[in-house]
Symmetry: C2
């Protein structure tokens, strides 16, 4: 396993590099993209380590993971708390949206069916104003 818990978590150059990068870039990026960005910056970090670090961050809830219908998973540093995403199908522009009503609805529905320990994923896809305009 890669996410030591009761044990020590060590600070390494590579982990800092990934975290720093995530705090500087906008929007969602794949592990491979992030790896490429690091290389361009001259940071020498292995792809495996990027994957491991992203996974650890995701497990810790520090970053968001999204799995768009047709591809690889995308990662993003985002605000604390639970929220969802409104993503443009064409350009990827993303807006964070909160829906307290949805949260409680999901919990209620799950409870009605006897499900416990409930979580959910919700993503909204659409075409943003700019991309819609470019289409005619």
């Amino acid at each position: 396993m890669n996410a030591p818990q009761g044990t020590a978590a060590r600070n390494t150059r590579q982990r800092s590099a990934v975290a720093t990068l995530l705090s500087q870039v906008e929007g969602f990026h794949s592990a491979q993209e992030l790896h490429a960005m690091l290389r361009e910056r001259g940071e020498r970090v292995g792809l495996t380590t990027v994957y491991r670090t992203l996974q650890a961050l995701a497990d810790a809830g520090d970053i968001d993971v999204m799995r768009p219908p047709g591809g690889e998973q995308l990662f993003r540093r985002c605000s604390d708390g639970h929220h969802h995403h409104l993503v443009c199908r064409t350009c990827g522009r993303t807006v964070e949206v909160a829906g307290p009503a949805v949260e409680s609805w999901a919990d209620r529905v799950a409870a009605q069916h006897g499900y416990v320990d409930v979580s959910h994923t919700l993503e909204i896809f659409g075409t943003c104003r700019g991309c819609a305009a470019n289409r005619g």
Copy 2:
């Protein structure tokens, strides 16, 4: 591409076999599982064809596709109309749930941000009563 549109769509033994199977099995299954089931029935259908057929059915909206966090996509023939799924993390038991309020909320939020042509995916994960009991 594999989904002829203005052109003719032909009826084949393989397509019928996949469609029939889907109408008989319960719950979600991966392409590979469905392929294995067909083989057990003595139907000779290639894995490639199963994938192609499932994709065509999904494009046509005749079946549901779900991408659970950690694995391959799952397919399921399900009732008409838009709905979501409540899935047990442990045993996979699935309940279809409808949430008109969520639909309109999603559309409204998207519209507020200038997004058009909106769709969304929502999945609720939890532990069902039976599995929760078995855990203590």
